[in-house]
Symmetry: C2
Subunit: 405 residues, 2 copies
């Protein structure tokens, strides 16, 4: 009898953890496990803002897949997914086609620019190692150009961050720490640099505890970040952005707009004919698609409603990692028998960093934390993931242990 | 009686060493010494190619003027020289005017592009800390962009160096070492990168010993540098350069052209009405201008003929530093009495580095050296200068001691 083919698409938090669990729970005689990913590395999406600001090298954020996956148990294919054909159980990659018996879709997110003119063409997004290090280099390059031009261009020193959500705020925190270093590096008066956050809601970090939001604003404003709330981005050009606030249009000259205000599920999912809700697959309790019994969806491509508030759970690393427990269990149950489990999210807490030396968060029982304590908690969360993913070896190699400065 | 005003323009090798010597030899009751420089730092022009390639940080190359000059003995003015009016003994700076009794002109060089179309606008030059670190950032930025574009642009990975003279060759050596590191940093196959040297003469390093030139070519070619000799640059655009060789035009797509094939004396000298030869002042044997008894010229702005071959001595750091002995002595003689000295260049040897781990050179008695021995000699020359300029303290801070790798 032929072994079933289990194909996992995407080596993000969900896909990677599912693969690691399956390679432990399934013997090579029970199933063929194939992992498909565009790059030969996995990366921690939640650290990319640090790479973008230049406060952490991107090699700290990425992990070679071969360092975590046992290549004698898992067939790794470096390729790009083009489309999925669930009716005929096939996946089309750029360079080949794959057949599967069981599929796990963990293709992550892409930026959503909501049709705002110029944003897709001229704004940067923090979505991958490539895009994050480009932001770092772009800011540095403009700082280097500044003193080389007779006519000084303020737009080179204005950095606009669109969106005051989680990613936006965390990026601002790193940037605020990085700018004084960059000014020293390029002989620029740091008072000339402007970091401007444009947020559509009345407050940044909507949904977060107001006291903690206040703390975050104070922390960032004291380091020079300007906040413009209740403001909608209207246009982005190569040399400026325009926002509308209180019915008035304001144009800010800038060569660096970072769009951190919108993500959507990878559009391959919708294009492949799955039933979707806001671009995501509203999965069954066992993480399978409504219409295909052999297809699981995990992470940012999966939609799960929170019955308490009638809104979807946010697309976080925490939830994707929790889902991998259920997905790995249920995939094994499907190919070698056993009871399926149901997914039940457990929100253990949320911590937003404000640079390496400050953070805010809500942990178990809604306890608020901030400052040093919160930065330590953030690092514990990050380190716990590395331990789960690759054991002590990976933790020691890529963990964050600088908790005392 | 009023103390005479000694004004030194430019804190390059010549101006800086002259100032250091005068602050030792002249008491504050004998003369007022004023040093004028655009930046508040001195830099080692002969190290800039390393900053441009990214193999040495520019802070290693520059030295804060206050670290070397005793500010209680020397009046330092950070300003830009606009013009000199020797008839009325005045110097016009951007922000003020200065009167002098004795003037030392050490205003260095600027790039000469010989009217080649587009070169001034689109090519980079290695002439200052600002321009050197811009080259570093420009190359990095293009490497960062490469993987972010759907349509890969080879022009981002082609680097053209115009000129195979001293600076060109030394820059190529650093670049050849740096590129593999950059490829790793930005996930680029290093076989895709092209480094192309375009030289008008039949050989690079014209005038150098042919055996050493052969050695240099082998060293650089083995690290991927391509040489096109007997070729004239015809045009530089933002996205390409065109050269002519054997009557044929070749266009190379590139976003990075570094022009290292021509320098001329600072044009302020010519514009200020001094008698010049090829833009330089052909100084008397005591380093004074032919027409003004109270004006000395040092370094790249001074022209001294070599009677042995009827050609001017090359504008090198070595000669500028030697001249400072004579200039400092003669300035003192002029203001407080004594015999003037005549300048006699002593060419102690020339070493061209080919990266941190290789070099070629000719030392005393025309002895040829290459490889490790030559790299050590190069570092000894560099370190000797630091010792002369700022003593053991400066040597330990900025010296090059990594001779064993």
């Amino acid at each position: 009898m032929k072994n079933p083919n289990i194909v996992i698409l995407g080596a993000g938090y969900g896909g990677m953890m599912t693969t690691v669990k399956l390679q432990k729970s399934l013997g090579v005689n029970e199933a063929n496990i194939t992992l498909v990913n565009m790059n030969d590395y996995h990366y921690q999406t939640t650290w990319l803002h640090e790479n973008a600001a230049g406060t952490l090298h991107h090699d700290r954020t990425r992990i070679p897949i071969k360092d975590v996956i046992n290549m004698s148990k898992v067939n790794f294919i470096q390729d790009k997914v083009v489309s999925i054909k669930p009716e005929i159980k096939k996946v089309k990659l750029e360079n080949r086609d794959l057949e599967y018996d069981v599929l796990v879709i963990g293709l992550g997110f892409e930026a959503a620019t909501f049709g705002i003119p110029g944003l897709e063409e001229h704004a940067f997004t923090i979505g991958s190692i490539n895009s994050a290090r480009l932001i770092r280099e772009h800011i540095e390059y403009n700082f280097a150009l500044y003193n080389n031009e007779k006519e000084k261009k303020q737009a080179r020193l204005n950095i606009v961050v669109g969106g005051g959500g989680f990613t936006g705020i965390e990026f601002l925190g790193e940037l605020a720490n990085r700018i004084p270093e960059l000014c020293e590096e390029f002989d620029i008066d740091k008072n000339l640099v402007r970091i401007i956050n444009v947020e559509g809601s009345p407050t940044v970090l909507p949904g977060f505890d107001p006291e903690l939001v206040e703390y975050a604003l104070n922390s960032l404003e004291s380091r020079g970040v300007e906040f413009v709330t209740n403001a909608m981005l209207k246009e982005c050009t190569p040399e400026s952005i325009t926002y509308e606030k209180d019915g008035e249009l304001t144009q800010v000259p800038t060569l660096t707009t970072v769009w951190a205000a919108g993500v959507r599920a990878n559009s391959i999912v919708e294009k492949s004919g799955f039933e979707t809700n806001r671009g995501k697959v509203e999965v069954r309790k066992d993480m399978r698609t409504p219409d295909f019994d052999n297809v699981f969806v995990i992470g940012d491509c999966a939609l799960i409603m929170n019955p308490e508030n009638g809104r979807p759970y946010p697309p976080t690393a925490q939830i994707a990692i929790q889902q991998s427990d259920v997905v790995a269990h249920n995939v094994k149950a499907l190919v070698s028998g056993g009871e399926a489990e149901e997914f039940e999210p457990k929100i253990l807490g949320t911590v937003a960093s404000l640079g390496h030396d400050d953070a805010i968060g809500v942990v178990l029982n809604n306890q608020k934390i901030f400052g040093w304590k919160a930065t330590v908690m953030k690092k514990i969360i990050d380190n716990r993931y590395l331990l789960k993913l690759g054991g002590v070896g990976l933790l020691l190699k890529k963990g964050k242990f600088n908790i005392f400065y």
